[in-house]
């Protein structure tokens, strides 16, 4: 996919000299060194102040943030001075790269540091290193394992959503009138804020006394339609809510895939007199396999972050039955201010996600290659 730029810059030779003058190159070199020294100096000074060794009166760490910004600009200018055309090209990538690195690398490393300490924001003691204690707590924490088990259900529910979404995408792809209306209507749930959805459906439509859905259920013969009172029903209610929000996403992906299937292939199958059922299984479904896999993998990635709906509808209840890892940590942070332990759970969860996704992507890759070979 990547396009290569011609190696010899003969086109740009007209606008810029091909070789960077020695003085300019040196200037860039020194600029970067000076900026780095400045950044390092400020960082050391602020660390000294923070550790109480040197009261320099620098205030918050804002200064380091500004120093980083200056350093980032200097790196950019230095690149251009030192490498000319190539520097201009590097300038495309540098802002995004420096931004992401600054905002991700530091928190991840710092997160590891917090994870191995006892730190409760509501107590006066402050942060205290406690080795593997948090990890030991985690292994014995029934709520963590419970949340992890729930995550399995939530991830598996993606496949039910996929089946439904595939059916709806097929319907949308059929020869229908008012397709635009249906497409917009089907998309809308995806646009709404999960917090609002939690109230709109979870706390009002499904409300025990006055909710129309509860009324409908009573009408159908369910005497006490309490959607969030018993573990399994609550779990399925959350799955239904989550499906309502996310099925539109899968419909859109699958519909795009269906529309990319050349029409003449479908017509040919029709001429052969194949029934719609066998056309689907022998032609449409195999052709849709790559899109399906992409959709499911993306959806699983998003599902692993499931939190907002659970936090706002059930807060993980009853008895942790609907907890996701994220909602569990959220309560650990906000209700108990237990920063150290919460971060440890988050870091362990990240490791689980990375291992799981690596295995999943490997399996998917092997599966796709085998399909392609056939």
């Amino acid at each position: 996919m990547t396009l290569t730029v011609p190696a010899t810059p003969n086109t740009s030779a007209m606008s810029r000299p091909p070789m960077v003058p020695e003085g300019q190159r040196l200037a860039g070199h020194w600029l970067i060194i000076a900026a780095s020294v400045l950044l390092l100096g400020i960082l050391i000074a602020q660390t000294l102040e923070a550790s109480g060794l040197a009261p320099l009166g620098l205030g918050t760490w804002r200064l380091s943030l500004y120093a980083y910004l200056v350093w980032a600009v200097a790196i950019g200018v230095g690149q251009v001075l030192m490498r000319g055309e190539a520097g201009y090209k590097a300038l495309f990538l540098l802002p995004a790269l420096l931004f992401t690195i600054a905002l991700v690398i530091f928190p991840t490393v710092f997160g590891l540091y917090i994870a191995f300490s006892e730190w409760n924001l509501s107590s006066f003691e402050g942060q205290k290193f406690n080795g593997l204690d948090n990890l030991r707590t985690l292994i014995n924490d029934a709520y963590f394992w419970n949340a992890l088990r729930n995550m399995t259900f939530y991830v598996l529910s993606v496949f039910i959503q996929y089946t439904l979404a595939f059916g709806l995408a097929l319907l949308l792809n059929a020869d229908i009138r008012a397709r635009k209306f249906f497409r917009v209507a089907f998309l809308l749930p995806f646009m709404l804020s999960p917090v609002a959805v939690s109230w709109m459906i979870g706390k009002s439509l499904m409300e025990f006394r006055f909710g129309p859905l509860a009324g409908l259920m009573r009408h159908l013969g369910w005497d006490s339609p309490a959607f969030f009172a018993t573990p399994w029903i609550a779990r399925f209610s959350i799955i239904a809510l989550d499906a309502w929000v996310w099925i539109p996403f899968m419909i859109i992906m699958l519909l795009a895939g269906l529309q990319a299937i050349p029409k003449d292939i479908q017509e040919a199958a029709k001429v052969d007199g194949a029934s719609p059922w066998s056309t689907f299984w022998q032609m449409t479904f195999p052709l849709m396999l790559p899109v399906s896999v992409t959709t499911i993998v993306l959806r699983i990635i998003f599902q692993l972050k499931l939190a907002d709906i659970v936090i706002n509808t059930t807060s993980g209840g009853p008895g942790g039955a609907t907890d996701t890892i994220s909602s569990f940590i959220f309560r650990e942070y906000r209700d108990r201010s237990n920063v150290g332990y919460g971060t440890m759970v988050a870091e362990v969860y990240l490791v689980i996600i990375i291992v799981f996704m690596t295995l999943l992507l490997n399996a998917v890759g092997r599966f796709m290659r085998r399909e392609a070979a056939q």
Binding site: K89, F99, P212, A256, Y333, R334, V339
Partner: protein, 308 residues
């Protein structure tokens, strides 16, 4: 699928009005209308509930102007947004408008920043060969995309501590920075897909005419890539407008956004349905408008790179 002329060509379905075809049509439209109802009813329910009175709520009235449910400004009056209160002083309205404005600033600011730094990065990754230590383009792209895997919970606490030290806690700037981080991978993904479809000859021609790489990018490529940029921008706006997790943890009084306000109201038991419905309506209205008018771009953004 087959029009009248095709029925003549292929005698398999000779009768255009046979019963199984009719049944098929009925099934298709039945299922479509059923699902459209499932999608739209909660939205209708919320909007209509904001015009209900206590009796309408307890009796479960659904259709307005028939019998009891005549419509009432009760819910909106509590927010200070009904016709009779709109010109009066209302602390709740001030609060609501402040949250609304915060949400607006954050969900415009972060996507703008993400597109500003993401689009050039995507262009660079699409056109040039980079070497960053042992990393090549593929690795750099993967680095950006892998940010999608990172669950918010992992970043939340370090950011809380970091922002505290940087005095960015409970500030709009702080939220914009972290939202930019979360939507940047998506923006880069969509934009790269867009740039890959633009023929490189255009830029080469521009460079022969004396444009530098940046000149060619801004003057030639960006206008062509505009639809992709709009798609990426709108998708980012949706994600930022709806974001709750970081907003709930990193803001408290001044920078609180609309979802946090909605959530804090759902938590309290005594809150009345009509007020809650009016609040939810306010929170979802901008997105429903975006969804209805810009559906094309949202679909384009979501399906970028999925279908080759």
């Amino acid at each position: 699928m087959s029009g009248p002329d095709q029925t003549m060509l292929y005698p398999i379905s000779k009768q255009p009005w046979n019963w199984s075809r009719m049944a098929g049509k009925v099934f298709i439209y039945g299922a479509l209308i059923f699902w459209a109802f499932i999608c739209l009813f909660p939205i209708y329910w919320t909007v209509s509930t904001s015009f209900k009175t206590a009796v309408n709520v307890t009796q479960g009235d659904i259709i307005p102007f028939l019998g009891r449910f005549q419509g009432d400004w009760k819910g909106w009056r509590a927010l200070g947004l009904s016709p009779d209160t709109i010109f009066q002083v209302s602390t709740v309205r001030d609060e609501f408008m402040l949250r609304f404005a915060n949400s607006l600033i954050v969900s415009i600011g972060a996507p703008v920043l993400a597109v500003l730094i993401g689009a050039p990065a995507a262009y660079g990754l699409s056109r040039f060969q980079y070497k960053f230590g042992p990393w090549r383009n593929k690795d750099i792209s993967f680095f950006f995309l892998s940010q999608l895997l990172l669950p918010p919970v992992v970043l939340a606490m370090p950011f809380l501590v970091l922002y505290k030290e940087l005095a960015l806690l409970d500030s709009v700037i702080g939220l914009i920075l972290i939202y930019t981080l979360t939507v940047l991978p998506i923006v880069i993904w969509i934009m790269r897909d867009q740039f890959d479809t633009i023929p490189i000859e255009l830029e080469q021609a521009a460079m022969v005419d004396g444009c530098g790489v940046w000149g060619a990018f801004i003057r030639i490529v960006m206008p062509i890539a505009l639809p992709g940029m709009v798609a990426a921008f709108i998708l980012a706006v949706i994600l930022c407008w709806n974001e709750y997790f970081f907003a709930a943890l990193l803001t408290s009084t001044s920078a609180k956004t609309l979802p946090v306000m909605v959530a804090s109201q759902t938590g309290s038991q005594g809150i009345s349905w009509w007020t809650m419905a009016a609040l939810s309506t306010g929170a979802i209205a901008p997105l429903v408008v975006i969804g209805v008018f810009l559906e094309r771009y949202i679909v384009k953004g979501l399906t970028a790179g999925a279908v080759k």
